[in-house]
């Protein structure tokens, strides 16, 4: 590919050179394809280095110090791995990881089951399915913060629509449906909003997976008189699996760093029952101002996300081959 590409480009450059006056031609010849490639790519890389990578290295440096952002003039001391050992032995941060795990597990489970189910139903191609699909997709494009904030109103025990609907359906008095105030219900309040918002995301990717299954496989199964149940488990699910994995991985990464909704719905409360990792980190960094320690915490989160991102890109490439 490269060789033919080069000869083509060279020929074209040659043609261009012949057709243009001398000084312009020299400039054209000097601006080789390689130069153009780097000229085009460099600004993006430079921006990312400045805004993402430089701060990251700074955070790595800070994670080995006792720096505090609210005391910029204090003497900065190197504390070695002290911050990491504190973060990785801190029962509260450990607890925040478990809270995160709880969210990640349940949101992904619910979103995958409902999302795949919806995709399967939409794939029946009933009349008007495109219209209803578009309607279902709306929540995932909205701002999690702004919409999440409004859910606080829906969750109000005395006046909210959610409490009213639940009490209407179950007969439980609304005063007991303290979705955001009750330690047992608060995590579920967030899981419900997240599921409401992101099920369409999983659904859309699953739908693509289902549509990528060629018809002839089902036709062959039909010839073999495989039951619908069997077809579902031995054709539909395995063939759609790379897509499901893609959706699960991305939702996993996103929910691992979930911040917006939790911050607005509960702010980590009541107590610390919904204090996910991002909220704990925010408190450490921007309320306790323990910049050094929180940098170490941030690096832990970063490494975890980076590991998942590697797997995600592999999953992306696998899906791309279809």
């Amino acid at each position: 590919m490269t060789t033919s590409d080069h000869t083509y480009a060279d020929k074209a450059a040659e043609a261009a050179v012949r057709a243009t006056p001398e000084p312009v031609a020299r400039r054209l010849r000097s601006l080789s394809d390689k130069a153009i490639a780097w000229l085009f790519i460099a600004p993006t890389i430079v921006l990312l280095l400045a805004i993402n990578i430089f701060p990251l290295f700074w955070a790595v440096y800070l994670s080995f110090t006792n720096y505090r952002a609210n005391r910029p003039n204090a003497v900065v001391q190197n504390v070695g791995l002290g911050n990491y050992s504190r973060v990785l032995n801190d029962p509260d941060i450990w607890a925040s990881m478990q809270t995160t795990a709880h969210f990640v597990f349940w949101t992904i489970l619910l979103q995958t089951v409902i999302g795949f189910g919806l995709a399967y139903l939409i794939d029946r191609k009933f009349r008007g399915h495109a219209f209803w699909t578009t309607l279902i997709l709306i929540p995932m494009m909205l701002s999690p913060a702004v919409v999440g904030n409004f859910w606080r109103f829906l969750y109000e025990p005395q006046i909210g629509l959610f409490a009213y609907a639940v009490s209407f359906l179950t007969g439980i008095p609304t005063s007991e449906i303290q979705m955001l105030g009750n330690v047992h219900l608060a995590p579920w309040a967030i899981i419900i909003v997240d599921t409401w918002m992101w099920t369409p995301y999983v659904m859309l990717i699953c739908l693509a997976g289902l549509r990528s299954i060629p018809d002839y496989i089902y036709e062959a199964a039909e010839v073999d008189r495989a039951s619908n149940w069997r077809q579902f488990w031995s054709i539909t699910v395995p063939m759609a699996l790379p897509f499901i994995m893609l959706a699960v991985l991305f939702r996993g990464i996103e929910n691992f760093k979930m911040f917006d909704m939790v911050n607005l719905l509960t702010g980590g409360g009541p107590g610390s029952t919904t204090e996910v990792a991002s909220i704990a980190l925010k408190r450490d960094a921007f309320e306790a101002w323990a910049t050094g320690r929180s940098s170490a915490f941030a690096i832990v989160l970063f490494v975890a996300v980076f590991g998942l991102a590697n797997i995600y890109v592999k999953a992306l490439n696998r899906v791309k081959q279809r």
Binding site: M97, G307, I311
Partner: protein, 76 residues
């Protein structure tokens, strides 16, 4: 969950002749192993049973990630 299509589809390795690379230098299995190590790191990070596992989750995650980055450069 190794990639079946990778193994089955490309006729990259000629059937006769060339000996296959040893398993620890092939991409497929080693990538799967790295993914498993990262997965293990997450389990250690998330589990509520032993603080010591949580303590060593970071190093496990780092190991898995570095391993993944290296082995994904290997040929099939």
């Amino acid at each position: 969950m190794t990639d079946i299509r990778h193994v089955a589809a490309p006729p990259a390795t000629p059937a006769a002749g060339k000996p296959r690379r040893p398993i620890f230098l092939r991409r497929g299995p080693m990538e799967a192993l790295a993914v498993a190590v990262i997965g293990l790191g997450f389990l250690m990070l998330f589990q509520p049973f032993a603080l010591v596992l949580y303590t060593y989750s970071l190093i496990t995650l780092l190991t898995g990630t570095f391993m993944f980055m290296i082995v994904s450069k290997f040929p099939e």
